[in-house]
């Protein structure tokens, strides 16, 4: 038995099919992965993301400390705003990707992956310097994501005291729910407008229920991990353990845009060099031309030569075809190039396409 979120019983009641994910028992789907995917694209979907980790970083040296660890500039980060970044090891490989929310100049909130939570915390702890207090809040934090074009209207019904029109993308605010403090951020991992809600585990069940109830007229449905994965793949968001790992740096992963700090940080010399000179391999987007579903690990061929492998693949319910992220040698293919993906010993034609497969809709 894996770890269970405070919403585990709700998932069972809703007919969720439970699987192991990073040591957690979570629903992979409730009714149909494709239906859930399309519900988020057209209406709204509700996700239990309580497995993810949350850390608090407090103290007057907090920003300086975080800036020494991530390749992303803090110049655009302000109170009440978050940004995407990553933690890198000494070689520039990615320890984890994360969201950094700035509450105030000496109070930050980090959201990290479930599977890397312990590793991240150890790394952050080993790097502590100055007046900084690091705390793991994961066990006292539940997280519910509401995503899709109708998510704002539904959430506004539940939180009438918050003006969501004023909550811009990547910004967050606080409110109360059943007497408990809740953090609402205008963020997500689906390619749709949506919100991520952070609340204590005791109150999560009541919040889940009221969102489903108020969402009913908007066709909100609960969504599992399978649709979360296909949604993020269409939107071209990287997933740790797939596109990202300790042997891939952010430039190779197609995340050069988060390598923009002019401070000194872990592996800054390496990352600046690889950004200036270009990486030897890079994540590209592939679209299958006819039939077949690319899966992780499948080889990618160009004119008979092996140029790399699929890091994430699957079926796109919007494009109605197989799509993939692949890590390939640079300087060989560009957007529009024809490649083959080896699916069960057969070469299946695919094209290198511009990222993303699905543009952010919000």
């Amino acid at each position: 038995m894996g770890k269970r979120t405070p919403l585990y019983e709700k998932h069972l009641q809703l007919g969720g099919r439970i699987v192991d994910f990073a040591g957690w028992d979570l629903p992979v789907q409730y009714t149909s992965a494709i239906e859930e995917h399309m519900a988020v694209r057209t209406n709204a979907g509700l996700f239990d993301i309580s497995h993810m980790g949350e850390f608090s970083v407090k103290g007057k040296d907090s920003q300086q400390y975080l800036e020494s660890l991530v390749p992303t500039s803090f110049s655009k980060l302000e109170d009440g705003k978050g940004m995407y970044s990553c933690l890198c090891n000494a070689k520039g490989g990615i320890i984890d990707d994360l969201f950094i929310f700035r509450i105030t100049e000496d109070d930050f909130y980090l959201v990290v992956n479930a599977g890397t939570r312990e590793k991240d915390f150890k790394w952050l702890k080993s790097r502590l310097e100055g007046d900084v207090v690091l705390e793991d809040l994961s066990d006292v934090t539940a997280k519910i994501d509401i995503q899709g074009p109708s998510s704002k209207a539904i959430l506004q019904n539940v939180f009438s005291g918050v003006n969501l029109d004023k909550l811009e993308r990547f910004h967050f605010t606080y409110s109360k729910f059943n007497g408990s403090r809740i953090m609402i951020s205008n963020t997500g991992y689906t390619g749709e407008a949506g919100y991520e809600l952070f609340i204590n585990p005791e109150t999560a069940g009541a919040l889940w229920d009221i969102l489903l109830e108020k969402g009913k007229p908007f066709n909100l449905i609960p969504c599992g991990l399978a649709s979360r994965d296909s949604l993020r793949l269409e939107a071209c968001y990287s997933l740790y353990g797939h596109e990202l790992n300790e042997n891939v740096n952010p430039v190779e992963a197609g995340l050069s845009w988060i390598v923009n700090s002019d401070k000194n940080y872990t592996a800054s010399d390496i990352l600046r060099k690889v950004k200036a000179e270009g990486p030897g391999r890079r994540i590209v987007c592939l679209e299958i031309k006819e039939k077949g579903i690319p899966r992780e690990g499948y080889r990618v061929m160009y004119e008979g030569a092996d140029i790399g492998h699929v890091t994430s693949g699957g079926y796109s319910p919007v494009l109605k075809k197989g799509i993939a992220f692949a890590l390939v040698k640079t300087g060989i293919v560009k957007t529009g190039s024809d490649v083959d993906i080896v699916i069960r010993d057969k070469n299946v034609g695919a094209s290198v396409v511009k990222r993303p497969f699905y543009s952010f809709n919000g």
Binding site: V28, A33, I34, E35, A226, K291, I293, R295, Y315, R344
Partner: protein, 136 residues
């Protein structure tokens, strides 16, 4: 929730422990497919590739198709030996048929049985129902 969802077992069929079915017509031929349990476990089927070729002779346990669901690719095995008479190419064009109608429109291949005695080695509907109840 419907407690019987993904657990329908039909009479007149025989079943394998890998959740394929075979439906003999009593004249030496049979249709093969995957069970309701199999289609439900796979989830949304998005692609079917029938790999058996018409006219070829196959053995029990040979791969006759690959089914891709939203989650993973799975092989489908022939429950018995025989000569491949026909492929249901309709499921290649509309793979969701396998989800909607696993025992009828969603059949995979038609076989001429090499040895009808092979059928006796497969599970009866009652045995398959027990097999599912025991956790599949």
């Amino acid at each position: 929730m419907d407690a019987n969802k993904g657990r329908e077992v039909k009479e007149g069929f025989r079943y394998t422990d890998k959740h394929e079915w075979i439906k003999p017509d009593g004249k030496g031929n049979a249709l093969c497919g995957i069970s309701d349990f199999a289609q439900n476990s796979l989830g949304d089927i998005v692609y079917v590739e029938l790999s058996a070729s018409p006219g070829s002779t196959i053995s029990a346990g040979d791969v006759i198709a690959v089914v891709e669901s939203a989650k993973a690719a799975s092989d489908v095995y022939s429950p018995v030996s025989g000569k491949v008479l026909e492929l249901n190419s309709a499921i290649e064009d509309a793979p969701e048929t396998v989800n909607k109608s696993p025992y009828d429109d969603g059949w995979f291949i038609k076989l001429e049985l090499s040895d009808t005695a092979e059928l006796e080695k497969l599970m009866t509907p009652a045995q398959y129902t027990d097999f599912l109840a025991a956790g599949g």
